[in-house]
Amino acid sequence: MAVQTVVAPRRDSAGEPTPEVTKRRRRWRSGWAGYVFLAPGFALFVVVLLIPIARAVQVSFYQWLPFPGADNTFVGLDNYTRAVADPQFRLGLVNAIVYMLVTVPGQILLGLGVALLLHQRLPGRSLFRVLFYLPVITSWVVVSLLFRYLFATDSGLVNWVLVDVLHVAGHPVGWLDSRWTGIGALSILGIWKGVGWTAVILLAGMTGVPRELHESAAVDGAGYFRRTWHVTLPALRRTLLFLSVMLVIGGFNVFISVLLMTAGGPAGETEMPLTYLYKQAFNFLEFGYGSAIAVIMTVLILILSIGQTLIANRAERGE
């Protein structure tokens, strides 16, 4: 009651709700009003996401041409069998898996380091936070172009540091001119852009770790590193699971950076599944084939996410 009078001072006659009022309230609460509030947003969601999801599945069974009045023939699973046998798609898949294997642990470990350093009181902490978050909020287009410039063979800053400053390379490396160095450069960009985000999430998780646990561990003589290993990390298990699921999804979805840094080149060597499906659809107008790849990727991502969650849950129960 006190809360009500503070926030709604216009009310002068307080009192328990009468049966009549309760009935009136229940009537609109359970009625159409909910649908009305929901309608505009949900309608947009249906048109922009739900219908396209269904449409992707449908189109993937056709030889689909994106012209008005085109004669689209049903081909069953042909697009899927074609994808499974397509060496370029397989290469893209391997590339994405390598990219994921590098960027997921990279972002988690470095993000964990940053979060641990930022978690305690420290002069200049908020400034450091801003600096680490800046790559996170900057557009993929800008950072991809920037990294293309940094990794340029003849004039790039990275090669200058390697050759002239650290003397670890005798001559400039053609980063974006071959498969693994190209994926290396893309991975470095992915980690650099994502570390701030994993650090934010981990910092949020760390505020949930009870202080007493740390204190009692300290009383027992555990040093900082042992406390981190035995107290902080176990408490962060759910956060780490969330992060690894999200980062695996993100890794499979690498797109803009590939498009703008290597364009999948040289000769398709750094192609990723999404850049490949994009080219199939919008350069070669193979909408059916592109959609089949899209469905395969979605299913793969779903399986991986569910698999990770199940494994993590089993590990938790096993202890």
Partner: protein
Amino acid sequence: MTLDTPRLRRTRTIARIGALTAGAVLMIGPFLYMVSTSFKPNMLALEWPPRFIPRPATVANYVQAWSANHFAQYFANSVLVACGTTVATTLFAALAAYGFARFAFPGRTLLFWTMMLGLMVPGVVILIPQFLVARSLHLTNSLSGLVFFYVGGGMAFNTFLLRGFFERMPRELDEAMDIDGAGPVRRFITLYLPLSRPALATSAIFAFLGSWDEYSWAFTSINDPDRYTLPIAIAQYQGQHATSWGLVFAASLIGMLPVVLVFLLGQRHVVSGLQTGALKA
């Protein structure tokens, strides 16, 4: 008990600041180098060894980036799209979140989880069917078409965010207003909207950032150069002036300005939004 002498603690703090500074240099270095290049005359952008302080420094890239190639037009397009998306996303998501949070109706849980599908399906994967749907609705190659798709695409996350906030608001306030005879619309406007300003700000900021920076859909659905938004224009710039990095970065930095401004002004909201899972995947 471990012995934490003041000296040991100070050494540790210094070591931590050292490690963070090294990290921060790696994070910020590329941006500083970009700023430096944007002030270099074009022939010096590919100079070896690289020079960090441009000499001679020039603003020619900024002048050229802004005045040539319809850049002002692209900037205006982006402002229009981002503002439209921000207002519409926040409004529709708030309405939907209110519906989910405060009304009981058949199918509520099902509808909510259907909507949450939108959080799991990543953008580029459904670009093809989205293009087909947009074309049959005559929403390709138009700025309002962009807004339409951005708002629909942001509905899942923002509804999720705001529903959580509305549900944590004390029911007593709502009931008190109800007794006073305020209908659901009035309660929404005079109670829920004002009290959820922090959540609305977070939602608005991410709707703005997301649409300001969006590339894949804009690149796919817009053909007419008059309707380019900044990300497409900047990427095209690089394609056309392959070695004019100063120009490309001047354009990029102009495009980043609103983002940095929003970030610095609404830092608290940005951080809380990131924690909820915004901007990833």
